[in-house]
């Protein structure tokens, strides 16, 4: 009996997973398939880009600079064992552009933007504002969802580009101040070592992360129900699911980019 119950639980969980995946796929399809007919909400896209990019700059910048600084510190400890401390600039630049910049920015934006999108759209759902949009002959997917997804796709790479510079600067500060690196030497090493692919791969990743964050925020908010408690649940789900999906996507994208 116990084995049958466990099997039934497994089956139910799998069916729920399939249902959720299907619903998410239909959600994405609705957002993109309806976006190509007018009216186009350029103003909404611009507003979202400012929210995601400009207003996230302080938190992402702060995260990036400390990530770069700690990376320089830790690299020095590790590299000293092989008498390879001179490689700190390369380690910092490579790690920040390919990994830490996109992932940390993605996670920070998931906490800030994913949560606020889920709360905003969720509140609109439970207070009938989304129904009101429909009665005003305005498609919620075109007006609310697509501008956010598009803004996420475009803006996170721009944010990560800034985070890359700030993160490497963090490593530069620690290397020069603590480990007495020659400043010009540090910059030259970063410049010579980094290739376009390092930066480009990081930007591709961040674009995917931006899509994940905004998709989870919109999706969880759109289907929230049950008043304030439901909106709270949607907000938590948006942040948790986006964070997990970012880390999962990070692995598979890295494997794909390195051709593993």
């Amino acid at each position: 009996m116990a084995a049958l119950d466990a099997l039934a639980l497994l089956g139910r969980t799998f069916l729920k997973f399939l249902e959720a995946t299907g619903r998410l796929a239909v959600f994405v399809w609705n957002a993109f398939s309806r976006a190509w007919r007018p009216p186009f909400y350029f103003r909404a896209v611009g507003q979202q880009m400012i929210d995601i990019g400009y207003y996230s700059l302080p938190i992402v910048g702060l995260t990036a600079i400390f990530a770069g600084m700690v990376l320089a510190l830790q690299s020095n400890i590790g590299l000293a064992r092989f008498e390879a401390e001179t490689q700190i600039p390369e380690i910092v630049a490579f790690s920040i552009t390919r990994e830490l910049g996109p992932v940390l920015a993605g996670l920070m934006v998931a906490g800030r933007i994913g949560a606020s999108m889920a709360a905003e759209i969720g509140t609109m759902r439970v207070t009938e504002q989304i129904d009101a949009l429909v009665t005003l002959a305005t498609d919620p997917f075109r007006y609310l969802v697509f501008p956010r997804l598009l803004a996420g796709l475009i803006t996170l790479p721009l944010l990560v580009l800034v985070a890359d510079v700030i993160g490497i600067f963090g490593g530069f500060v620690v290397s020069v101040q603590t480990f007495e690196f020659n400043p010009a030497n540090f910059i030259n090493k970063v410049w010579d070592y980094l290739v376009w692919d390092d930066i480009f791969d990081g930007l591709v990743k961040s674009s995917v992360f931006g899509f994940i964050v905004t998709l989870m925020g919109c999706y969880q908010g759109y289907y929230s129900r049950g008043g304030a408690e439901g909106v709270g649940r949607a907000t938590t789900n948006a942040v948790v699911s986006a964070s997990i999906l970012i880390l999962v996507a990070d692995y598979f994208l890295s494997a794909l980019m390195f051709g593993v």
Partner: protein
């Protein structure tokens, strides 16, 4: 009832949520320019009926015709075109929190009808004036408004696009009797002036008597009585009698769960 082709014709409408059958073969005609009020207890499915007509929920069975055209399974694009001739006043107002009052009123004009913002603002100010709100209110956020003001703004938004059909979802719920009466008067004035077809749902009998040409009672998923306002006090129907007099004892079993 109605002469000629009704504006809205509903036949054999069924809608369930899980095991809860909310609408069970509902039939209703609403004539052009007629103001019909549907009365019924909480949880009787009045809001679900409105949502079915607007396409916000899809019925499992039955037909809804607008101007003789079937609308239950029309495409998203056709639905958008259809909804351009509708306006709706929501129970809570459902004003967009992120927009100013005038932007709420002008929303349909700008987004669905493509009117320039400056021109739409002018129309919005006129609409706000028609519901007794001045230009200072136009610049406020919805969160700064009282319940009565929110209803007025909601009404201004519902009529701003000059719709042919307006739905009123419990227009006086949550308002004091004086404000309820003011809102009813504004509704009657707007409906008569614009010569629109109106469908309202309420359980406020005083409000129903003020705004209705015809009253229909929804119970157990069906229209169980339908007649003019003058006839309702002599309906000879125990359900109607219990409802309009608010009697605790009678044939109506109140639904506990929300549909």
């Amino acid at each position: 009832m109605t002469n000629g082709q009704p504006k809205i014709r509903i036949r054999n409408l069924h809608k369930s949520f899980g095991s809860n059958q909310v609408l069970r073969g509902l039939n209703l005609d609403i004539g052009v320019g007629e103001s019909v009020v549907i009365i019924g207890g909480s949880g009787s499915g009045k809001s679900v009926l409105l949502k079915c007509i607007l396409g916000l929920v899809t019925p499992e069975e039955g037909s809804i015709q607008i101007d003789g055209k079937e609308v239950v399974h029309i495409s998203e694009r056709d639905r958008e075109e259809l909804l351009k001739q509708f306006g709706m006043l929501f129970q809570s107002g459902a004003l967009f929190d992120s927009l100013k009052v005038w932007e709420n009123v002008a929303f349909g004009l700008i987004q669905a009808h493509g009117m320039p913002r400056k021109q739409a603002k002018g129309v919005a100010l006129e609409m706000l004036a028609s519901v007794g709100l001045d230009a200072r209110v136009a610049e406020l956020a919805p969160a700064e408004l009282s319940g009565g003001m929110r209803k007025r703004v909601g009404l201004a938004r519902a009529i701003a696009t000059s719709p042919k059909v307006i739905f009123f979802d419990e227009p006086t719920t949550g308002l004091d009797p004086i404000m309820g009466s003011i809102i009813d008067r504004l509704i009657v004035h707007s409906v008569k002036q614009m010569q629109v077809t109106a469908l309202s749902i309420t359980h406020d009998m005083a409000s129903a008597r003020r705004i209705a040409d015809r009253v229909a009672m929804l119970y157990n998923g069906e229209i169980i009585w339908d007649g003019s306002v003058a006839e309702i006090d002599h309906a000879d129907n125990p359900h109607v009698d219990q409802f309009i007099h608010g009697k605790a004892e009678g044939p109506i079993q109140m639904q506990v769960r929300k549909p």
